[in-house]
């Protein structure tokens, strides 16, 4: 090949000149990064001050037992929550609650992700699969995961299984729909291109459809992660014996009010952590997508 393509010199030289110019151009954005850094620092500062202000307002309202539309008389002050924080985050029982919830999420979400991605790929790609599998799923889709709780309790032998099931339902549909959407959105010209380059049906699926649908699948996973936490916490509040949702609700029934806020904060942190995990995984598997989005 090398000898074969060394004929005409003139266009080659032009092509090289062009690439150098373009390469210089593509190095440009590096200079802007220090300005961007200081801008981010400023916005971080303003954000922190804003949060501190709101905390201060809450503190004042609780200490003075403000009773104007909102009733702050039973609402623990941030300082009380902070005190409970130190004491409870180290207690083994609290860690067991968190561990229970995390395990349920892990099981339910993983099952949902595996099943709905496979189903979504099939439904999105094959007409037969769409015709046979999609209608029953469409009937079930509008039912919120929380509405499944009573039936789930009847359906499964243990409360644990029904809890995992609710988590599963919560994550299943967002992932399924986003996967189908992703498959259908794959640029048809890329499929054509792969065929003209000698790809067989399986190659098209693996090399084009799957990576093409991946950004949408990751979006589905991150939405599904949110809805599965939402579903799990509700289920735990209603029928749990363990878990962070149960912990929060129990704190209410036992009138340990600082613990309520502590539970809420923990749920928030867990949700944030798991969605961060999904984002991280997405970036790991799609290095091309992140930079594409920032270039656009």
């Amino acid at each position: 090949m090398a000898s074969a393509v060394h004929g005409a010199v003139a266009p080659r030289a032009n092509a090289t000149a062009l690439t150098e110019q373009e390469a210089a151009l593509s190095r440009g954005p590096a200079r802007a990064s220090s300005a961007r850094y200081s801008r981010r620092l400023a916005s971080l500062l303003i954000g922190s001050v804003s949060i501190a202000l709101w905390l201060a307002l809450w503190q004042l309202a609780s200490v003075h037992k403000l009773n104007f539309f909102f009733r702050f008389e039973n609402i623990p002050a941030p300082t009380e929550v902070a005190a409970a924080f130190g004491e409870l985050y180290s207690a083994p029982k609290f860690a067991a609650h968190v561990g229970n919830s995390v395990r349920r999420i892990f099981l339910g979400f993983s099952l949902a992700a595996a099943l709905s991605v496979v189903l979504g790929l099939l439904i999105g790609r094959f007409r037969v699969a769409a015709q046979s599998l999609f209608p029953p799923l469409e009937v079930l889709r509008p039912i919120p995961a929380v509405a499944w709780i009573p039936l789930a309790i009847l359906l499964f032998a243990s409360a644990e299984q029904s809890m995992v099931f609710i988590t599963f339902i919560g994550a299943f549909f967002p992932i399924l729909l986003n996967t189908i959407h992703g498959v259908e959105g794959v640029d048809r010209r890329l499929v054509y291109a792969s065929l003209t380059l000698g790809a067989g049906p399986l190659d098209v699926f693996r090399e084009v459809i799957l990576p093409g649908a991946l950004p949408s699948i990751v979006t589905g996973l991150s939405i599904g992660m949110g809805t599965s936490w939402f579903s799990l916490v509700t289920a735990e509040m209603i029928s749990g014996q363990f878990g962070i949702g149960y912990y929060t609700w129990e704190a209410y029934t036992l009138q340990q009010y600082p613990k309520i806020v502590l539970g809420m904060i923990t749920i928030g942190l867990l949700g944030m952590g798991s969605s961060f995990l999904i984002k991280w995984l997405g970036r790991l598997f799609m290095p091309w997508f992140q930079s594409e989005a920032s270039a656009a």
């Binding site: 005409a8 266009p11 092509a15 054509y192």
Partner: protein, 265 residues
Amino acid sequence: MTETRALGAIALHDVNIHFGEGKTAVQALSGIDLGIEPGEFVSILGPSGCGKSTIIGALAGFTKITSGELRVDAERVNAPGPERGVVFQQHTLFPWKTVAKNVEFGLKMRGVGKLERQRKAREILNSMGLSEFLAHYPHQLSGGMQQRVNLARVLVNRPRVILMDEPFCSLDAQTRLQMQELLLSLWHELHMTVVFVTHEVDEALFLSDRVIVLTQRPARIKAEVTVALPRPRTRDLLTSPEFVALKRETLERLLGDPSASVKPS
């Protein structure tokens, strides 16, 4: 790369293509008879939307012909295949693959080993002035570079026929000329048959051995212009009297009106 082969003879006999059925049916191609020699560079010229691209689709194997016969090297075309490379108007590089991996794709599909395909991809990218961009993703390149990678991805498979559907029409004039010259030099080295669809008279004449002029939809062959200009061709040719005369003639055949204005290019 000195192997010889029966290289990309194309034959269309009375090819008709209809889209849709009943009242909404549209005829895209009507009675196309065309033979293309192995190694010939043929442009298909016609007004926008006339059905030029449909010919490419049929040759590539995406579009089923309604009647007639279409053969490449005596074989009936009924599915896409790697011996007929296609370059579309917009690049169709896989956004999730680096430049090198995009170029390796066809070789990978053929089961060529990893080291061998890396070597071949590097070689052709080097020869096209893209050696610094092996690890880049397509969106990090300019339009001209994307189309160069696209061309490399097709050529690395040594197709017998390369089908090009207005491949340079979204590039700026300067880049387009560079790409045209690059294409000519690659074609000269690699001896494949090229079918090149365009709506630009200059481009068609500059590149081709023969220009097929199509009518409005449904497209029929309206005229055929043989381009007997010497090769290798350079940009100087574009302003030579022979070229301008041929351009005038082609425009007349295309527009069917001798008084039609000849725009300076």
